[in-house]
Amino acid sequence: MEGTIFMPRDEEHMVALNSSAAKSASSYVKVDRVSIGYRSRKTGIYKDAVVDLNFEIRRGEFVVIIGTSGCGKTTFLEAVAGLVPVSAGQILLGGKPIKGPGRERSLVFQSPSLFPWRNVRDNVLFALQAQHNLNSETRQRAEDLLELVGLKDAMGSYPHELSGGMRQRVNLARALVTRPELLLLDEPFGALDAQTRSVMQEELVNVWQAADLGEARNALFITHDVEEAVYLADRILVFSKAPASLAADITVELPRPRLPDHKRSREFVEYQDRVLRELYASSGGAPAVEIAEEVAE
């Protein structure tokens, strides 16, 4: 079972750590003329949330989706997660259409959604328990992950005893403990204050780069924070306003490992500027030129 899902390790390390190799690597997720919508329970009227999306994600890419609020980002991510069915087209994962949730994918929810009756350790172990994969090796891995996200001393605490940032760390550890191939993150740091947020971004980058532990070689990350997008991404997909379609596809060629200091570098700011301009252009908002000048100042 496991063997069919995971590729041989060495090959993956190479892919994950060398982003130029990633670009030449094969397609992993293929989004093929996908539309997703909801039918209202009351009126029965169907409304599109996402229309005619077409793109591919290569193995080893960290892809960030950015778009204005309500444009359909969560809807799309949940379709990749297998929680929401597509209404047209198909999403292929490693060549096979997505029919429902799968062990090779994990979702970091926008709100941490921890089980309040389980302590931190047991919340992380739930993911393993659900997949009947609880043994001494995986338990150890859970503890290692919790240590990595700085929760070594809080393993016995209950969610209501934790701060928002700590809960989100548990959420991240729970998603990573099953060694997913594809990590989906829905504005995981959206509810945090600016400082905690940047600490968490750094932590995610660390986990991401610690390939032997994190091992989620593909990530699909949703945000509406431009700085966050540029800091994390190999590639940024800009969604237009609702119903969403793909407005821009920007490859971020900043070196890794990325450090918080890079956020002040010239290239970084230029990328931010470009994403912001695409964002405004696609949502028909404020004049792009003025915004660009503001950012440059």
């Binding site: 929680l83 994918r105 929810f109 089980f115 009756w117 659900a130 209501h160 005893e161």
Partner: protein, 278 residues
């Protein structure tokens, strides 16, 4: 920094006050709730004792605390009270056991399957709001006047609040928990055992507390009507023999049992659902 010093000063002030206060007074302040509760009971008992000693009320009709204690001693030393206690305990015990086995799984399923819920909701509401004692003649007609009928009335009395509470708990289940379980690829069994049941436990325990109260009433009522022994029957016969001391002693035993059972559930609630109060 300045706030920290202010806090320090306040707590130092408190410490000084506590040190000056005598130990017994401090104990009373910490346990004030219990202290007041016990004093309330004591005042009633003393008033009862005083009025009967002074002859303000007729002792043969009203009894008094000292006579109840004496009756209690005779009842237990002669062993004659164990029979009735055993009968009532069996009715409540079997009744509650069967109630738990029926109501919790049924409540969990009704809460999850909307069609079943919609089908049964009106029936359950009617059954819950019609006073269950009304069904007693029917139960007697169907099952006779043996222990079986008494247990059946206990179940009838106790089962509805537990089903209703469990169902409500399931229907209030946070949909995020369902999504987490789905995303982790949890099977049905893992979902019921490790998500649905613990999430609903606070509701279930509240339901059990209501159920036990109703089970006790059900048992006593059944004994009144079906005269097969038990504490209810004991109190009834003692009263008709003008033995008010024994009757009051029986009521007191029932009161202790009720308090102990309620406390026990309270303990369980504290132990297993501390997270939902947090």
């Amino acid at each position: 920094m300045s706030t920290a010093t202010a806090d320090d000063r306040i707590s130092v002030g408190n410490a000084e006050r506590i040190v000056k206060e005598p130990a017994w007074l401090r104990w009373m302040r910490v346990h004030s709730k219990v202290v007041y509760g016990i004093s309330g009971v004591a005042i009633v008992l003393i008033a009862w004792q005083v009025t009967s000693t002074l002859g303000l009320v007729n002792v043969t009709i009203a009894s008094d605390p000292i006579r109840v204690i004496k009756a209690e001693i005779t009842l237990f030393s002669s062993g004659q009270i164990w029979g009735p206690i055993g009968v009532t305990a069996q009715e409540v015990g079997w009744g509650m056991l069967i109630t738990l086995l029926i109501s919790i799984p049924l409540g969990l399923i009704l809460g999850r399957v909307t069609a079943l819920y919609d089908m049964t909701e009106p029936i359950i509401n009617v059954l819950n709001s019609v006073p269950y004692v009304l069904f007693l003649p029917v139960i007697i007609f169907w099952f006779g006047i043996g222990q079986q009928s008494r247990i059946l009335l206990v179940i009838w009395a106790a089962t509805m609040p537990l089903i209703i509470n469990t169902t409500a708990g399931v229907r209030n289940l946070n949909s995020d928990y369902i999504r987490v379980a789905k995303m982790c690829c949890a099977g049905k069994w893992t979902f019921y055992r490790s998500v649905l049941f613990p999430a609903t436990l606070p509701y279930i325990l509240t339901g059990i507390r209501l159920s036990i109260a109703r089970a006790l009433v059900g048992a006593i009522v059944a004994e009144f009507f079906l005269s097969g022994g038990g504490l209810g029957y004991f109190v009834q016969t003692a009263t008709s023999n003008f033995d008010m001391d024994s009757a009051m002693a029986g009521i007191f035993i029932m009161a202790v049992a009720a308090v102990v059972l309620t406390r026990l559930i309270g303990r369980l609630e504290h132990r297993y659902t501390h997270w939902s109060q947090g």
